[in-house]
Each structure stands twice: as C-alpha cells, then as structure tokens.
C-alpha cells in the first residue's frame, strides 16, 4: 500500500487503485472528467516522486520534466507528495532592487531573494500585494543569474496592480512572490532543432529568458525571435537583442511594427504574419509563443498547420484580469 500526501494529510492508495480513485474515495476535492487520460482535467504534480511513465502518456516534455502526471492513469509505485492545481500557494518575500523604465509604458522590475529561487526560464509567478491583490507575471531572466527575478511590467490603463507597481513601488519595498508555474520553457534536448520565438509586447519577457537559456545551454540550431507591437516606442531591448544577434551567428532578431511608421531595420506587419511568411515549412521546429491571447491561439494553429508538432509548440497566453 502506497501513501499519498496532500498538504500534510496522508491518504492510502490500495494496490488496484489509481491516484484519482484513492483521492475520490477519500473525498478529496480534485477536478476530473473522463478518467481515461484524455481530458487532462485531473493533471497534478508531485514535487518529490517521479511518476510512472504510463501516468505521463501524452503530456508535453516540459510537464513530464516537472513531474506532472494524470491522476486517473497513475498506479503509484512509491509514496508520493501530490500538489493539486488549485492548492493554496507558498509565497516568498522578495525585495525590489531595480525599478526603471524600459520604454514609455514598460517597467523593468528586479526582485532579489535571500536564497536561490528555483525556476525554469520562461515560467511565470504570481506577485501579491499586502492587501492580497495578485497578478501573474512572466520571469524574464534565467536561474543562473544570482538570486533575482526580472519582470517586464506593462502599464495597463486602469490596471490596479500594474499602476501600483509603476507609480508606488520603490527600491527596497517587499513583494510576495509565488512558486513558479507554467510549462513554456526550454529543455536542452535536440539542440540542432530550429527555435521559433514569437511575442507581442511584454511577451518578450519569457522569450528573452528562454533565448538566454537556449544560448547558454549551447543550442546549435537556428533561433528566430520575432517581437512585435504597433509603434516602435512600445518595443524594448532592441539594442540588446541586436547585440546578441551580432554575437551569435545562428540567432536572428526581427522586430515588427504593425503601425504606419516603420523606421529602417524593422519589419512592417503583424508579428504573427511576418513570422509565418518567413518560413515555408516548420516541420521539426520548436515554437514558443507569448503575449496577446488571440495571437497565441492563432499561431498555435498556424504553426501546427505549417508542420510543427503539437508536442513542440509551447505557449503562455497573457490573460488580463478584469479590474
């Protein structure tokens, strides 16, 4: 008999039971639907045990890598700690060490921690204000760069949280930061594969982290980054990206502007359209998409139709919380 631990409570899993069976028998509130491994409703994570292979069938590599599994397919082989998706999160206090503008509406916020903060470049966290107001932001740096997290925060008109960060937060203030989440990150496998990175606005944040990570881990295939906005004033880190492209022959940076005024050195058009027009075929490419939800959903489909495999398409759409 195997023991399942959820938030300090232990549940027993009988030999013929799946994790889902056991938790339902114990009246644990876990979401599920098909019980056949199809709907992925009962996906959970174990921070301490590598799940049986059969329980990870059909999941993306990045999810497998972080020990996600389907409770309905899991006959546990050992005791497991289990994290449910909606389980209350553990927050760590960090201190703001950098607080400066990247362009007219985007703030660079760097938060430092006492101890190492474990994450994969491209993941996101929840930031929480003292009154409990919480928003998700993507991490823009890589874990190798000391105990800090870097964020690109766009000011949303009427957005309570972004306005608070822009107008009130100062160097030295503390912010509560959740554990990292999301499965949009780089894994050092098939390093000869082409990487296509497409983002709008602050979608550059996770992509910059993924890019830095891929370069640091010696990715050898071609890497294309398409970053788009309407006006040039809403792009940022243009010089840094151009500099990187000079240093790395296989990295290509294509800033795109959809507005009327397009200075030299920029492509004209929506970033998704420019990116798609640049490739006849995306078979065997790995694709990362971040930013506007419509762009992300559209591009998931279009890159798939151009030949990219679903298991190679990673995306985090920004969902803007209504204020």
């Amino acid at each position: 008999m195997v023991k399942l631990m959820i938030e300090e409570k232990a549940y027993s899993c009988q030999p013929n039971e799946t994790v889902l069976d056991a938790l339902l028998r114990e009246h644990v509130n876990i979401s599920y639907a098909c019980k056949k491994g199809t709907c992925h409703s009962c996906m959970v994570r174990s921070p301490n045990a590598i799940p049986p292979e059969a329980a990870q069938a059909g999941l993306k590599n990045t999810l497998k890598n972080h020990n996600y599994f389907l409770a309905c397919l899991c006959h546990p082989e050992q005791d497991m700690i289990i994290k449910l998706p909606d389980q209350s999160e553990f927050y760590t206090e960090g201190t703001v060490v950098v607080n400066e503008m990247l362009n007219r509406n985007t703030l660079l916020l760097i938060i430092a921690f006492k101890d190492a903060f474990e994450f994969s470049a491209g993941q996101f966290v929840n930031l929480q204000r003292a009154d409990g107001l919480t928003r998700s932001y993507s991490i823009a740096n890589t874990p190798q760069e000391s105990n800090t997290l870097e964020f690109h925060i766009r000011r949303l008109p009427g957005g309570r949280f972004s306005e608070w960060l822009h107008d009130e937060i100062m160097v030295g203030d503390t912010v509560a930061v959740s554990e990292p989440r999301g499965h949009c990150f780089y894994l050092p496998e098939r390093s000869e594969q082409g990487l296509l990175l497409v983002g709008t606005g602050t979608g550059l944040a996770p992509l910059a982290g993924i890019l830095t990570d891929a370069l640091a881990l010696g990715h050898s295939g071609p890497i294309y980054l398409f970053h788009g906005s309407r006006e040039v004033e809403d792009l940022y880190q243009i010089d840094e990206m151009r500099q990187l492209a000079k240093q790395h022959q296989h990295f290509h940076y294509i800033p795109c502007l959809s507005g009327k005024h397009v200075p030299e050195g920029f492509s004209h058009g929506r970033v998704n359209e420019v990116a798609l027009a640049s490739f006849a075929d995306l078979k065997d490419w790995r694709v990362f998409l971040c930013g506007h939800p419509e762009m992300v959903n559209q591009m998931k489909k279009m890159t798939f139709l151009k030949g990219a495999s679903m298991k190679d398409i990673y995306a985090d759409a920004f969902l803007v919380t209504p204020t």
Binding site: K36, G37, T38, C39, H40, A57, G58, K60, N297, K300, K301, F304, L305, S309, M310, I313
Partner: protein, 133 residues
C-alpha cells in the same frame, strides 16, 4: 464465459490495434489527421477548440478506438461527448468527411488496405451514437 471466449480469441489472433502498430501508430496518425481536419472548411468548425492540446488528446482517443485499442468508451459516452456538436448541426455529411480523412491518413501512412477497412468499420459502428440517432 464471454470473457474467457474473448481472451481465447485474443491469444489466437492479434487485435487490429496490435497489427497496425499500437500507440506508435496512433501517434503517427493523430497529427496528420488533425491537420487534414483543420484544413477542411466542411468540418473544421467542429474541431476549432481553442485548446489544441486537448484536441490532440481527443483525436488520440479517436484513433485508439478506431484501431480497436484499449478504451472503455460506451455508446452513451459517444452520445454525450458529441451532443453539443449535434446541436451545432453535426450530421452524416460531416461524419462522412471525417471517415474520408481517416482513410486518407492511414493510406498516407502505408497501412495495408484490409487493415484500413477494419478501422473504418469500427469507426463506422459509432456513427449512430456520434450523431445522436
């Protein structure tokens, strides 16, 4: 008694799922099939879920079923799952289009014609439930 008979049959002849290549064959078929479906204006609105990962998982379940692989879908499951699509107008015309893509996908993967016929017959057997008739 029926179970014993089925088991004997299974040991005597391999299932279609095994002969066609098991999970590897399903994986190869799913993406080819789903690209065809998304490119087909007759039916793509029924498949245009915003969550593509879930769609792929559903197509995988479909192929496992069509190959007679391990699944425990009942007629009622089929009815319930497709009921919202029937409300959207799903009918024989669309079912035929899906059957067409199933055949084309398996042909493209060089599956022998007799095995394609077997898979098509299994998929065909779900027609009434899928269309809620």
């Amino acid at each position: 008694m029926t179970d014993t008979l089925n088991n004997q049959e299974a040991t005597m002849s391999k299932t279609l799922y095994e002969r066609i290549g098991g999970e590897a064959a399903v994986n190869a078929a799913v993406e080819l099939f789903y690209r065809k479906v998304l490119n087909d204006y007759r039916i793509n609105r029924f498949f245009d879920d915003s969550d593509m990962d879930k769609q792929i998982a559903k197509q995988k379940a479909f192929f496992t079923m069509a190959f007679g692989g391990p699944n425990n879908y009942t007629g009622r499951d089929m009815r319930n799952a497709h009921a919202p699509l029937v409300k959207m107008g799903l009918d024989n015309f669309h079912f035929d289009a899906v059957m067409e893509h199933l055949g084309a996908t398996l042909t493209e993967l060089n599956v022998p014609a007799d095995l394609i016929d077997e898979a098509a017959a299994i998929a065909e057997s779900a027609r009434k439930d899928v269309l809620g008739k």
